[in-house]
Protein backbone atom coordinates (compact mmCIF):
# COMPACT_ATOMS: atom_id res chain seq x y z
CA UNK A 1 0.00 0.00 0.00
CA UNK A 2 1.17 3.53 -0.67
CA UNK A 3 1.39 5.92 -3.54
CA UNK A 4 -0.33 4.72 -6.68
CA UNK A 5 1.76 3.81 -9.68
CA UNK A 6 1.28 6.38 -12.41
CA UNK A 7 2.26 4.92 -15.72
CA UNK A 8 2.54 6.99 -18.85
CA UNK A 9 1.11 5.63 -22.02
CA UNK A 10 2.08 6.76 -25.47
CA UNK A 11 -0.50 8.72 -27.43
CA UNK A 12 -3.15 7.31 -29.65
CA UNK A 13 -1.41 7.34 -33.04
CA UNK A 14 -3.95 9.14 -35.18
CA UNK A 15 -1.98 8.25 -38.30
CA UNK A 16 -2.84 4.60 -37.56
CA UNK A 17 -6.58 5.11 -37.05
CA UNK A 18 -9.54 6.25 -39.14
CA UNK A 19 -10.72 9.85 -38.95
CA UNK A 20 -13.88 10.46 -36.92
CA UNK A 21 -15.76 11.61 -40.00
CA UNK A 22 -15.29 9.55 -43.14
CA UNK A 23 -18.06 10.52 -45.57
CA UNK A 24 -17.75 7.33 -47.66
CA UNK A 25 -19.16 5.64 -44.53
CA UNK A 26 -22.22 7.84 -44.42
CA UNK A 27 -23.34 7.47 -40.84
CA UNK A 28 -20.03 8.88 -39.56
CA UNK A 29 -20.92 12.36 -40.83
CA UNK A 30 -23.38 13.26 -38.06
CA UNK A 31 -21.85 11.02 -35.39
CA UNK A 32 -18.39 12.54 -35.22
CA UNK A 33 -16.98 15.38 -33.12
CA UNK A 34 -16.27 18.65 -34.90
CA UNK A 35 -14.34 20.40 -32.12
CA UNK A 36 -10.74 19.39 -31.59
CA UNK A 37 -10.24 16.86 -28.82
CA UNK A 38 -8.83 18.40 -25.65
CA UNK A 39 -5.52 16.92 -24.67
CA UNK A 40 -5.25 16.13 -20.95
CA UNK A 41 -2.52 14.87 -18.66
CA UNK A 42 -2.93 11.20 -17.76
CA UNK A 43 -4.02 10.67 -14.16
CA UNK A 44 -4.93 7.48 -12.33
CA UNK A 45 -8.36 7.77 -13.97
CA UNK A 46 -6.82 7.34 -17.41
CA UNK A 47 -3.90 4.99 -16.67
CA UNK A 48 -6.10 2.49 -14.88
CA UNK A 49 -9.00 0.79 -16.60
CA UNK A 50 -11.58 -1.95 -16.20
CA UNK A 51 -9.54 -4.76 -17.78
CA UNK A 52 -8.07 -6.35 -14.64
CA UNK A 53 -11.22 -6.11 -12.50
CA UNK A 54 -13.32 -7.51 -15.25
CA UNK A 55 -10.90 -10.32 -15.98
CA UNK A 56 -11.57 -11.65 -12.49
CA UNK A 57 -15.20 -12.35 -13.33
CA UNK A 58 -15.14 -13.05 -17.08
CA UNK A 59 -15.42 -16.63 -18.26
CA UNK A 60 -13.85 -18.26 -21.27
CA UNK A 61 -16.17 -19.04 -24.17
CA UNK A 62 -13.89 -19.77 -27.10
CA UNK A 63 -15.59 -22.31 -29.33
CA UNK A 64 -18.27 -20.58 -31.37
CA UNK A 65 -18.99 -23.77 -33.32
CA UNK A 66 -20.47 -25.46 -30.26
CA UNK A 67 -21.35 -22.75 -27.73
CA UNK A 68 -25.07 -22.50 -28.42
CA UNK A 69 -25.67 -25.52 -26.21
CA UNK A 70 -27.86 -27.26 -28.79
CA UNK A 71 -25.55 -30.24 -28.95
CA UNK A 72 -25.13 -29.84 -32.71
CA UNK A 73 -22.22 -28.10 -34.44
CA UNK A 74 -22.61 -24.93 -36.49
CA UNK A 75 -22.60 -25.16 -40.29
CA UNK A 76 -19.84 -23.62 -42.37
CA UNK A 77 -16.10 -23.58 -42.79
CA UNK A 78 -14.60 -24.28 -39.36
CA UNK A 79 -11.57 -22.07 -38.67
CA UNK A 80 -9.12 -21.38 -35.87
CA UNK A 81 -8.22 -17.76 -35.16
CA UNK A 82 -5.26 -17.26 -32.88
CA UNK A 83 -2.64 -14.66 -32.10
CA UNK A 84 -1.48 -12.24 -29.46
CA UNK A 85 -2.56 -8.97 -27.98
CA UNK A 86 0.59 -6.85 -27.88
CA UNK A 87 1.37 -3.33 -26.90
CA UNK A 88 3.20 -1.25 -29.46
CA UNK A 89 6.50 -1.98 -27.70
CA UNK A 90 6.01 -5.62 -28.58
CA UNK A 91 5.10 -6.84 -25.09
CA UNK A 92 2.25 -9.31 -24.72
CA UNK A 93 -0.74 -7.93 -22.84
CA UNK A 94 -1.91 -10.66 -20.44
CA UNK A 95 -5.19 -10.91 -18.60
CA UNK A 96 -7.18 -8.97 -21.17
CA UNK A 97 -10.76 -9.74 -22.09
CA UNK A 98 -11.38 -10.24 -25.80
CA UNK A 99 -14.99 -10.30 -26.94
CA UNK A 100 -15.92 -11.22 -30.48
CA UNK A 101 -19.09 -11.27 -32.54
CA UNK A 102 -19.82 -12.14 -36.16
CA UNK A 103 -22.43 -13.33 -38.63
CA UNK A 104 -22.78 -16.98 -39.60
CA UNK A 105 -21.42 -18.69 -42.71
CA UNK A 106 -24.24 -17.17 -44.76
CA UNK A 107 -23.46 -13.64 -43.61
CA UNK A 108 -26.48 -13.48 -41.33
CA UNK A 109 -26.24 -12.05 -37.81
CA UNK A 110 -28.39 -13.66 -35.15
CA UNK A 111 -29.57 -10.17 -34.17
CA UNK A 112 -33.09 -8.76 -34.12
CA UNK A 113 -32.05 -5.77 -36.23
CA UNK A 114 -31.11 -7.97 -39.19
CA UNK A 115 -34.37 -8.17 -41.10
CA UNK A 116 -33.43 -7.27 -44.69
CA UNK A 117 -30.99 -9.93 -45.80
CA UNK A 118 -32.75 -13.18 -46.80
CA UNK A 119 -29.95 -15.49 -45.71
CA UNK A 120 -30.61 -18.41 -43.40
CA UNK A 121 -29.99 -18.38 -39.68
CA UNK A 122 -28.14 -21.34 -38.25
CA UNK A 123 -29.82 -22.58 -35.07
CA UNK A 124 -26.46 -23.91 -33.95
CA UNK A 125 -24.59 -20.64 -34.30
CA UNK A 126 -25.01 -17.40 -32.37
CA UNK A 127 -21.66 -15.88 -33.30
CA UNK A 128 -20.35 -14.63 -29.97
CA UNK A 129 -17.29 -15.57 -27.93
CA UNK A 130 -15.01 -14.35 -25.22
CA UNK A 131 -11.58 -15.22 -23.93
CA UNK A 132 -8.84 -13.99 -21.63
CA UNK A 133 -5.35 -13.51 -22.96
CA UNK A 134 -2.74 -15.80 -21.43
CA UNK A 135 0.54 -14.75 -19.77
CA UNK A 136 2.06 -13.92 -23.18
CA UNK A 137 -1.03 -12.10 -24.45
CA UNK A 138 -2.12 -15.11 -26.50
CA UNK A 139 -5.70 -15.93 -27.47
CA UNK A 140 -7.40 -18.62 -29.54
CA UNK A 141 -10.91 -19.07 -30.88
CA UNK A 142 -12.55 -21.80 -32.94
CA UNK A 143 -15.34 -20.46 -35.11
CA UNK A 144 -17.02 -20.52 -38.52
CA UNK A 145 -15.69 -18.34 -41.32
CA UNK A 146 -18.22 -15.49 -41.50
CA UNK A 147 -19.91 -14.75 -44.80
CA UNK A 148 -20.06 -11.33 -46.47
CA UNK A 149 -23.34 -9.47 -46.17
CA UNK A 150 -25.05 -6.48 -47.79
CA UNK A 151 -25.59 -3.17 -46.03
CA UNK A 152 -27.33 0.05 -46.91
CA UNK A 153 -24.41 2.46 -47.13
CA UNK A 154 -24.43 2.75 -50.93
CA UNK A 155 -25.89 0.80 -53.87
CA UNK A 156 -24.87 -2.86 -53.87
CA UNK A 157 -22.71 -2.38 -50.77
CA UNK A 158 -21.28 -5.56 -49.20
CA UNK A 159 -19.18 -5.91 -46.11
CA UNK A 160 -16.16 -8.18 -46.56
CA UNK A 161 -16.01 -11.18 -44.23
CA UNK A 162 -14.97 -9.97 -40.80
CA UNK A 163 -15.02 -10.76 -37.10
CA UNK A 164 -15.58 -7.92 -34.62
CA UNK A 165 -13.03 -7.82 -31.79
CA UNK A 166 -13.38 -5.80 -28.60
CA UNK A 167 -10.33 -5.50 -26.36
CA UNK A 168 -10.37 -3.99 -22.88
CA UNK A 169 -6.76 -3.63 -21.80
CA UNK A 170 -5.42 -2.66 -18.36
CA UNK A 171 -5.61 1.08 -19.12
CA UNK A 172 -8.58 3.12 -20.28
CA UNK A 173 -6.68 4.55 -23.24
CA UNK A 174 -5.96 1.05 -24.55
CA UNK A 175 -9.67 0.49 -25.27
CA UNK A 176 -9.97 -0.83 -28.81
CA UNK A 177 -12.78 -2.20 -30.92
CA UNK A 178 -11.70 -3.33 -34.34
CA UNK A 179 -12.50 -5.88 -37.04
CA UNK A 180 -10.43 -8.78 -38.32
CA UNK A 181 -10.55 -9.38 -42.06
CA UNK A 182 -9.46 -12.31 -44.24
CA UNK A 183 -6.59 -12.33 -46.74
CA UNK A 184 -7.45 -12.12 -50.43
CA UNK A 185 -11.02 -10.93 -49.92
CA UNK A 186 -12.08 -9.15 -53.15
CA UNK A 187 -14.49 -6.95 -51.18
CA UNK A 188 -11.74 -5.30 -49.11
CA UNK A 189 -10.84 -2.56 -51.63
CA UNK A 190 -14.54 -1.72 -51.98
CA UNK A 191 -15.32 -1.43 -48.27
CA UNK A 192 -15.44 2.09 -46.82
CA UNK A 193 -15.12 0.84 -43.24
CA UNK A 194 -11.90 -1.06 -44.01
CA UNK A 195 -10.70 1.83 -46.16
CA UNK A 196 -11.40 4.37 -43.41
CA UNK A 197 -8.13 3.28 -41.80
CA UNK A 198 -5.07 4.86 -43.43
CA UNK A 199 -3.15 2.86 -46.05
CA UNK A 200 -0.22 1.15 -44.37
CA UNK A 201 -2.30 0.66 -41.22
CA UNK A 202 -5.46 -0.94 -42.62
CA UNK A 203 -3.50 -4.01 -43.72
CA UNK A 204 -2.84 -4.74 -40.03
CA UNK A 205 -6.49 -5.75 -39.74
CA UNK A 206 -6.05 -8.64 -42.21
CA UNK A 207 -5.21 -11.98 -40.63
CA UNK A 208 -2.55 -14.23 -42.13
CA UNK A 209 -3.37 -17.72 -43.26
CA UNK A 210 -1.01 -19.90 -41.20
CA UNK A 211 -0.59 -23.54 -42.13
CA UNK A 212 1.12 -24.13 -38.78
CA UNK A 213 -2.16 -23.22 -37.10
CA UNK A 214 -4.25 -25.35 -39.47
CA UNK A 215 -5.19 -28.67 -37.91
CA UNK A 216 -5.23 -31.73 -40.16
CA UNK A 217 -8.68 -33.08 -40.92
CA UNK A 218 -10.22 -30.37 -38.72
CA UNK A 219 -9.89 -26.63 -39.47
CA UNK A 220 -7.93 -23.97 -41.35
CA UNK A 221 -5.84 -21.64 -39.21
CA UNK A 222 -5.48 -17.87 -39.22
CA UNK A 223 -3.06 -15.83 -37.18
CA UNK A 224 -3.76 -12.24 -36.18
CA UNK A 225 -1.98 -10.02 -33.68
CA UNK A 226 -3.65 -6.96 -32.20
CA UNK A 227 -1.46 -4.01 -31.22
CA UNK A 228 -2.59 -1.59 -28.50
CA UNK A 229 -1.07 1.59 -27.18
CA UNK A 230 1.94 0.96 -24.96
CA UNK A 231 3.71 2.53 -22.04
CA UNK A 232 6.31 5.21 -22.62
CA UNK A 233 9.76 4.47 -21.26
CA UNK A 234 10.05 7.98 -19.85
CA UNK A 235 7.22 10.38 -19.10
CA UNK A 236 6.83 13.15 -21.61
CA UNK A 237 5.33 16.56 -21.12
CA UNK A 238 1.88 15.65 -22.22
CA UNK A 239 0.18 18.82 -21.03
CA UNK A 240 2.40 21.17 -22.98
CA UNK A 241 1.03 20.93 -26.48
Amino acid sequence: MGEPAIRHYGPKAYSDHPPFSYPDYRSTVKRSPTHDLIRIVQTLSETTGPGPAWTEIAEEDTDLTTNTGTGSPAIGERIIVTGKVLDENGHGVPGTVLEIWQPNASGRYAHWRETEFPAPLDPNFVGVGQCLTDAEGGYRFTTIKPGPYPWGNHPNAWRPSHIHFSIMGPSLGMRLVTQMYFPGDPLLPLDPIFNSAPPGARERMIADYDHEVTEANWALGYRWNIVLRGELATPMDEGED
Partner: protein, 190 residues
Protein backbone atom coordinates in the same frame (compact mmCIF):
# COMPACT_ATOMS: atom_id res chain seq x y z
CA UNK B 1 12.48 7.70 -30.61
CA UNK B 2 10.93 4.43 -29.71
CA UNK B 3 10.23 1.36 -31.77
CA UNK B 4 6.57 0.91 -32.50
CA UNK B 5 4.79 -2.04 -34.00
CA UNK B 6 2.04 0.26 -35.24
CA UNK B 7 -1.33 0.32 -33.56
CA UNK B 8 -4.16 -1.80 -34.92
CA UNK B 9 -6.73 0.61 -36.37
CA UNK B 10 -10.01 1.23 -34.62
CA UNK B 11 -13.23 0.23 -36.39
CA UNK B 12 -16.89 0.81 -35.63
CA UNK B 13 -18.79 -1.52 -33.32
CA UNK B 14 -21.47 -1.56 -36.05
CA UNK B 15 -25.17 -2.19 -35.46
CA UNK B 16 -24.93 -5.70 -34.03
CA UNK B 17 -22.54 -5.28 -31.10
CA UNK B 18 -25.24 -5.97 -28.53
CA UNK B 19 -24.83 -9.64 -29.43
CA UNK B 20 -21.76 -9.54 -27.20
CA UNK B 21 -21.00 -6.11 -25.77
CA UNK B 22 -24.06 -5.59 -23.64
CA UNK B 23 -25.63 -8.02 -21.23
CA UNK B 24 -28.69 -7.34 -19.14
CA UNK B 25 -27.80 -5.65 -15.87
CA UNK B 26 -24.34 -4.41 -16.81
CA UNK B 27 -25.57 -0.83 -16.26
CA UNK B 28 -26.59 -1.64 -12.68
CA UNK B 29 -23.28 -1.35 -10.88
CA UNK B 30 -24.59 -1.44 -7.31
CA UNK B 31 -27.24 -3.70 -5.79
CA UNK B 32 -30.80 -2.39 -5.32
CA UNK B 33 -31.16 -0.47 -2.07
CA UNK B 34 -27.49 0.48 -1.88
CA UNK B 35 -27.38 3.48 0.50
CA UNK B 36 -25.11 5.57 -1.75
CA UNK B 37 -26.79 4.71 -5.02
CA UNK B 38 -26.99 7.42 -7.68
CA UNK B 39 -28.52 7.34 -11.14
CA UNK B 40 -26.72 8.81 -14.13
CA UNK B 41 -28.91 9.02 -17.19
CA UNK B 42 -29.22 10.93 -20.43
CA UNK B 43 -29.25 10.78 -24.20
CA UNK B 44 -26.67 10.58 -26.92
CA UNK B 45 -27.50 13.04 -29.72
CA UNK B 46 -26.06 13.35 -33.22
CA UNK B 47 -25.18 16.48 -35.19
CA UNK B 48 -28.85 17.02 -36.07
CA UNK B 49 -29.80 16.46 -32.40
CA UNK B 50 -31.50 13.21 -33.26
CA UNK B 51 -31.05 10.53 -30.61
CA UNK B 52 -28.39 7.96 -31.40
CA UNK B 53 -30.45 4.86 -30.80
CA UNK B 54 -27.63 2.36 -30.85
CA UNK B 55 -24.82 3.88 -28.79
CA UNK B 56 -22.70 1.90 -26.35
CA UNK B 57 -21.60 3.70 -23.18
CA UNK B 58 -18.87 2.30 -20.98
CA UNK B 59 -17.98 3.88 -17.63
CA UNK B 60 -14.96 3.46 -15.41
CA UNK B 61 -14.76 4.98 -11.97
CA UNK B 62 -13.38 4.78 -8.44
CA UNK B 63 -15.60 3.59 -5.61
CA UNK B 64 -17.07 6.00 -3.08
CA UNK B 65 -13.80 5.92 -1.11
CA UNK B 66 -11.93 7.01 -4.23
CA UNK B 67 -10.24 3.67 -4.89
CA UNK B 68 -9.94 2.12 -8.33
CA UNK B 69 -10.18 -1.66 -8.51
CA UNK B 70 -6.89 -1.89 -10.35
CA UNK B 71 -3.41 -3.16 -9.42
CA UNK B 72 -1.88 0.29 -9.99
CA UNK B 73 -4.07 1.85 -7.31
CA UNK B 74 -2.12 0.83 -4.23
CA UNK B 75 -3.53 3.49 -1.90
CA UNK B 76 -4.67 2.28 1.50
CA UNK B 77 -8.37 2.68 0.81
CA UNK B 78 -11.11 0.10 1.05
CA UNK B 79 -12.47 -1.74 -1.96
CA UNK B 80 -16.17 -2.63 -2.06
CA UNK B 81 -17.17 -6.21 -2.51
CA UNK B 82 -18.73 -6.67 -5.89
CA UNK B 83 -18.12 -3.13 -7.14
CA UNK B 84 -15.79 -3.24 -10.13
CA UNK B 85 -16.15 0.39 -11.20
CA UNK B 86 -16.99 -0.77 -14.72
CA UNK B 87 -20.41 -0.55 -16.31
CA UNK B 88 -21.96 -0.72 -19.72
CA UNK B 89 -25.20 0.73 -20.98
CA UNK B 90 -26.84 1.01 -24.37
CA UNK B 91 -29.20 3.72 -25.52
CA UNK B 92 -32.83 2.78 -25.90
CA UNK B 93 -33.64 2.03 -29.54
CA UNK B 94 -36.72 4.28 -29.45
CA UNK B 95 -35.72 7.16 -27.18
CA UNK B 96 -31.91 7.25 -27.18
CA UNK B 97 -31.93 7.24 -23.35
CA UNK B 98 -29.32 5.40 -21.30
CA UNK B 99 -29.16 4.84 -17.55
CA UNK B 100 -26.55 3.76 -15.03
CA UNK B 101 -27.04 2.97 -11.37
CA UNK B 102 -23.80 3.44 -9.47
CA UNK B 103 -22.20 5.44 -6.66
CA UNK B 104 -20.59 8.86 -6.79
CA UNK B 105 -16.85 8.21 -6.89
CA UNK B 106 -14.62 9.57 -4.15
CA UNK B 107 -11.58 11.77 -4.71
CA UNK B 108 -8.64 10.48 -6.74
CA UNK B 109 -5.29 12.23 -7.10
CA UNK B 110 -4.48 14.65 -9.90
CA UNK B 111 -1.13 15.11 -11.60
CA UNK B 112 0.07 17.67 -9.04
CA UNK B 113 -0.63 15.82 -5.82
CA UNK B 114 -4.00 17.40 -5.04
CA UNK B 115 -7.38 15.70 -5.52
CA UNK B 116 -9.57 15.77 -8.59
CA UNK B 117 -13.25 16.57 -8.41
CA UNK B 118 -15.42 13.44 -8.39
CA UNK B 119 -15.80 12.18 -11.96
CA UNK B 120 -16.67 9.12 -13.99
CA UNK B 121 -14.75 8.32 -17.17
CA UNK B 122 -17.05 7.62 -20.10
CA UNK B 123 -16.35 5.98 -23.45
CA UNK B 124 -18.99 6.27 -26.17
CA UNK B 125 -19.08 4.13 -29.30
CA UNK B 126 -21.71 3.21 -31.83
CA UNK B 127 -22.62 2.49 -35.39
CA UNK B 128 -21.16 5.31 -37.47
CA UNK B 129 -18.33 5.90 -35.01
CA UNK B 130 -14.98 4.71 -36.27
CA UNK B 131 -13.22 5.59 -33.01
CA UNK B 132 -14.40 5.68 -29.41
CA UNK B 133 -14.79 9.11 -27.82
CA UNK B 134 -13.64 9.69 -24.25
CA UNK B 135 -15.22 12.16 -21.90
CA UNK B 136 -15.77 12.67 -18.14
CA UNK B 137 -18.93 13.02 -16.11
CA UNK B 138 -18.61 15.60 -13.31
CA UNK B 139 -21.39 16.50 -10.86
CA UNK B 140 -23.27 19.79 -10.51
CA UNK B 141 -23.39 19.59 -6.71
CA UNK B 142 -19.59 19.61 -6.45
CA UNK B 143 -19.09 23.28 -7.33
CA UNK B 144 -16.07 23.88 -5.15
CA UNK B 145 -14.22 20.73 -6.22
CA UNK B 146 -15.12 21.40 -9.86
CA UNK B 147 -13.66 24.91 -9.62
CA UNK B 148 -10.31 23.52 -8.50
CA UNK B 149 -10.18 20.54 -10.85
CA UNK B 150 -7.11 20.78 -13.09
CA UNK B 151 -8.70 18.98 -16.00
CA UNK B 152 -11.89 21.03 -15.92
CA UNK B 153 -9.76 24.15 -15.72
CA UNK B 154 -7.88 23.08 -18.85
CA UNK B 155 -11.17 23.15 -20.77
CA UNK B 156 -12.22 26.52 -22.25
CA UNK B 157 -14.60 28.09 -19.72
CA UNK B 158 -17.49 28.22 -22.17
CA UNK B 159 -17.40 24.46 -22.72
CA UNK B 160 -16.99 23.19 -19.14
CA UNK B 161 -20.70 22.90 -18.58
CA UNK B 162 -20.86 20.10 -21.17
CA UNK B 163 -18.97 17.92 -18.69
CA UNK B 164 -21.16 18.55 -15.66
CA UNK B 165 -24.13 16.30 -14.98
CA UNK B 166 -27.07 18.23 -13.54
CA UNK B 167 -28.93 16.98 -10.49
CA UNK B 168 -32.45 16.31 -11.79
CA UNK B 169 -34.13 14.71 -8.82
CA UNK B 170 -32.94 13.06 -5.65
CA UNK B 171 -29.61 11.45 -6.48
CA UNK B 172 -30.27 11.39 -10.23
CA UNK B 173 -27.92 13.22 -12.56
CA UNK B 174 -28.51 13.98 -16.21
CA UNK B 175 -25.60 13.81 -18.62
CA UNK B 176 -26.27 14.13 -22.35
CA UNK B 177 -23.59 13.40 -24.91
CA UNK B 178 -23.83 15.76 -27.89
CA UNK B 179 -21.93 15.49 -31.13
CA UNK B 180 -21.20 18.66 -33.12
CA UNK B 181 -22.52 22.17 -32.72
CA UNK B 182 -21.57 24.89 -30.25
CA UNK B 183 -22.71 22.79 -27.32
CA UNK B 184 -20.80 19.69 -28.37
CA UNK B 185 -19.64 17.62 -25.39
CA UNK B 186 -15.93 18.00 -24.68
CA UNK B 187 -14.05 14.90 -25.78
CA UNK B 188 -10.57 14.20 -24.46
CA UNK B 189 -7.36 12.84 -25.87
CA UNK B 190 -4.80 11.45 -23.45
Amino acid sequence: MRQSLGQTPSQTVGPYYTLRLFREGENIMVPPGHPDRIVVHGKVLDGDRNPIEDALLEVWQANSAGRYRHPDDTRDLALDNGFTGFGRAITDFETGEYRFETVKPGPVPDAEGAFQAPHISLIVQGRGMLNPVFTRIYFSDEDEANRDDLILRSVPAGRRSTLIAGLTEDAAYRFDVLFQGEDETVFFDF
